[in-house]
């Protein structure tokens, strides 16, 4: 894979950072360019180095077994960390990432240090982890004022908002801009076609970080780092794909990728934001893949149900205006159908209900039983049967939305 020298192109009210991508195997039909679009006013901060493109494409290159050559400048720290990063993915997913690829850079150089004080951005999507991190970062601004959080980064084309959902993104962008204005922060909207490279090649969960980190690295002269909320807890360090082992590797000499919040379970995070009015008004947890008309939450998918169930357990669901405010028996059944066994969400909810809301224990048990039966069937039945079960109990292939 050849990553050409990135270019900065002015286009209307936007500025585009893009690089031509060539692969040896033309049958892969990858897009010709990988691009990131920023509002015009950020033009002076864009970096034409290759670090952003390398972090965006490393897993793609590894999954197709194509060595990478960069014609632009790459930071030594990036090159050093890529070695470990690839090896970790090989250990976690040996079937997808079969070998370590060679990464060569024509020019190796340190990025220029920022001329101003440190400035951090928070990756923001409107979800539980985003609000939890926002709350924490605002708190940190008071106790550790030199840790400057100044921006929110909202990415269109990441794993939760496909590029084709343009109206939905625009509606959310306007809503979040007002939210960030209210907090004295600046929201940076970014679009990228990065998911077109990953769709149908690697798992969606392996591609959650890349769009965020690459978009932030594109703003190399503006940001000292990117903060984002962890999806896991420290006790889940053994699970493949957990960010606490790899996120910090996606850094350069002048940019730190910082994943925070692994010390809290999902229920604790939801509890922390449950009384925050801003979260109650703006929370968006839904992938909303089924329809573009669902701007915020469908209240029916696995993620919506997971959050609604947690809020209901905490007795706070009706305060959240973006979610359906009541839970019926059918919701428990659906919740069980989507349950992701192994992450402990259901155990946390059950434990909390046992202590504080005993009436919920039985219906929760019903959902959990359904979830575990589905899990066991999927795991232990012969492939041709389990595939049928998966097709009935799993959402449609979302990769099609990004291809």
């Amino acid at each position: 894979m050849l990553i050409h020298q990135p270019q900065i192109i002015h286009h209307g009210q936007e500025v585009i950072l893009q690089a031509r991508i060539e692969t040896r195997d033309l049958s892969l039909k990858l897009p010709e360019f990988l691009w990131f679009k920023y509002p015009e006013r950020y033009q002076q901060y864009l970096s034409d180095r290759s670090d952003a493109f390398l972090w965006a494409l490393i897993l793609i290159g590894q999954s197709i077994g194509d060595d990478i050559e960069c014609l632009g400048e790459v930071s030594p720290r990036t090159l050093y960390s890529l070695d470990e990063y690839q090896k970790i993915y090989m250990c976690w997913y040996p079937d997808i990432f079969r070998r370590q690829i060679t990464v060569r850079a024509r020019r190796i150089s340190h990025p220029k240090p920022l001329t101003t004080e440190s400035r951090y951005a928070l990756a923001f999507s409107g979800g539980v982890d985003s609000f939890f991190m926002l709350q924490n970062a605002l708190q940190m601004r008071k106790t550790n004022p030199d840790f400057h959080l100044q921006y929110g980064l909202f990415v269109h084309g990441s794993a939760d908002i496909p590029l084709r959902f343009a109206d939905k993104y625009d509606a959310l962008r306007q809503e979040y801009k007002l939210l960030f204005d209210e907090l004295g922060l600046e929201l940076i909207p970014v679009s990228t076609n990065i998911m077109q490279f990953g769709a149908h090649r690697i798992l969606l969960k392996q591609f959650l970080n890349a769009p965020l980190v690459a978009s932030a690295l594109g703003l190399g002269s503006l940001l000292s780092g990117l903060l984002f909320g962890s999806g896991e807890t420290f006790t889940q360090f053994h699970l493949p794909g957990n960010g606490m082992l790899i996120s910090h590797l996606q850094s350069t000499e002048t940019f730190e990728n910082i994943e925070l919040g692994s010390g809290y379970t999902r229920l604790e995070r939801i509890k922390a934001i449950a009384n925050w009015e801003l979260a109650q008004r703006h929370l968006r947890v839904c992938f909303g893949f089924t329809s573009e008309s669902v701007v915020r939450n469908c209240s029916e998918c696995g993620k919506c149900l997971r959050t609604r169930m947690a809020l209901h357990t905490l007795g706070k669901l009706e305060k959240f205006s973006t979610l359906r405010p009541f839970i019926r028996l059918r919701d428990y059944v659906l919740w069980g159908r989507w349950l992701e066994v192994g992450w402990g969400y259901e155990i946390d909810a059950l434990e909390y209900a046992w202590r504080h809301k005993k009436a919920m224990v039985l219906p929760l048990m019903l959902g959990i039983t359904i979830g575990y039966v589905r899990y066991i069937l999927r795991r232990y039945l012969p492939g041709w049967i389990s595939k049928k079960i998966i097709s009935v109990t799993t959402p449609t292939n979302v990769h099609d939305l990004f291809a």
Partner: protein
């Protein structure tokens, strides 16, 4: 816990970075000050900030449930990282540790102009640190920023401060072996272990202290390599892990937990033909039996390493173990399976892949011993286990009891 403003003191050709540590309600006796000592020539590089002490003392503050009040500036990035670091420790050791507040007199970056760009590695002479050292020599590491220039050999972690002769012998040997490779060995003495002894398991306490040593030289070091103890598939909650070590970085000082993607047998194989390791490999933790430049060759760590070297057909080239080595010694090895049944199956697989069938039977015997020991450990009620431990290894005779410093 109040950590007073650090002082830099010169004494007997040494430069000492010292900070007074005040506990609010500690019952057992601890030193008055925590300190790091280096040869005087490193004085221009010694930090005068509190970062090193904050990182080192955090697990202890968590153990005694006392918030930390720093009377010196703290790096903003480190302050953020310490929050996550203690979150991780609290998640893993909820019964032993508490989340404590950390407040500093000020939050200030280390000025970029004061920071050097060197790469340094912690070096104890063991398998992990030898592997990390070798992988960062120019022959393996093409990026000059990550070529190791300094190896920091600490007295006060696994070698007690009163064990001077033993430390000096290895210090001389390390310097002799690594100088031709372009690596300078930096001797460092510290009394940090004397703070954690009797309060907190060293396996939990050591992570912050390892980083603390590097932070004490933050004007010299840009990248600080901490060799990993466990590989990805063996990871356990521990003081130093790839999930947590990077949290102990500052704006100009980066901690790298190195080696997690290599199994132990791969590390042993990588150093098997490395001449410096053949002369200085130091793995033994048996303080009573080990001698200058000689591992005891009987303890679990010695038997583990000797077995792996033997299976790699390299043991004969290593001068720090007793010869001869026979199958019977492999059968005497009771592998420590605290991190899961990993090490021995790796060796078995390696022996099979290399067609070295003669080792397979004794390795199976050792595997059974390890498994039996694991079962016994699991069946032993924890209070009984802790009582036995206290009886067999009383605090009074612990080499890191502060009474030995008097």
């Amino acid at each position: 816990m109040i950590i007073h403003k650090p002082e830099v003191i010169f004494k007997d050709d040494k430069v000492i970075l010292s900070a007074r540590v005040e506990f609010e309600k500690l019952q057992i006796q601890k030193p008055e000050s925590a300190w790091f000592s280096f040869p005087e020539k490193y004085a221009p590089f010694v930090s005068d900030r509190g970062d090193a002490f904050a990182a080192s003392m955090l697990p202890i503050a968590m153990a005694v449930n006392e918030g930390i009040q720093m009377e010196s500036p703290l790096s903003p990035l480190l302050a953020c990282g310490l929050g996550e670091y203690q979150s991780a420790l609290k998640n893993w050791f909820p019964d032993e540790l508490h989340v404590v507040p950390i407040n500093a007199a000020a939050y200030e970056h280390v000025p970029e102009s004061l920071a050097d760009k060197s790469c340094a590695a912690l070096f104890s002479g063991g398998v992990d640190s030898s592997f990390t050292m070798r992988m960062h020599l120019p022959e393996y590491q093409p990026l000059s920023d990550f070529q190791v220039q300094y190896g920091i050999f600490v007295q006060g972690f696994d070698i007690a401060l009163q064990d001077q002769k033993f430390y000096d012998a290895y210090l001389q040997a390390f310097s002799n072996q690594l100088a031709p490779k372009g690596v300078r060995i930096v001797p460092c003495r510290t009394n940090l272990h004397y703070f954690s002894s009797g309060l907190l398991n060293w396996g939990i306490a050591h992570g912050g202290m390892l980083a603390g040593v590097g932070l004490a030289l933050d004007k010299l070091i840009r990248y600080f390599l901490i060799p990993s103890s466990y590989s990805l598939e063996e990871l356990i909650p521990w003081g130093s892990t790839p999930m947590t070590d990077h949290w102990l970085s500052t704006e100009t000082f980066k901690v790298i937990h190195h080696g997690v993607t290599f199994s132990r047998i791969e590390k042993v194989e990588a150093i098997a033909d490395w001449e410096p390791a053949q002369h200085i490999l130091r793995v033994c933790i048996n303080e009573k039996e080990r001698r200058e430049m000689q591992n005891c060759s009987h303890c679990e760590k010695c038997l583990r390493t000797m077995t792996m070297l033997e299976v790699c057909q390299a043991l004969g080239r290593f001068h720090t173990f007793q010869a001869p080595f026979s199958w019977a010694q492999i059968m005497r090895w009771t592998p420590n399976y605290d991190a899961g049944e990993v090490w021995l199956p790796q060796v078995l697989e390696y022996a099979r892949s290399k067609g070295r069938k003669k080792y397979i039977f004794p390795l199976y015997i050792a595997h059974l011993r390890g498994r039996a020991m694991r079962i016994i450990r699991r069946l032993t009620p924890r209070p009984l286990f802790l009582q036995l431990k206290r009886k067999l290894f009383p605090y009074e005779s612990n080499s890191f009891n502060p009474k030995y410093l008097e």
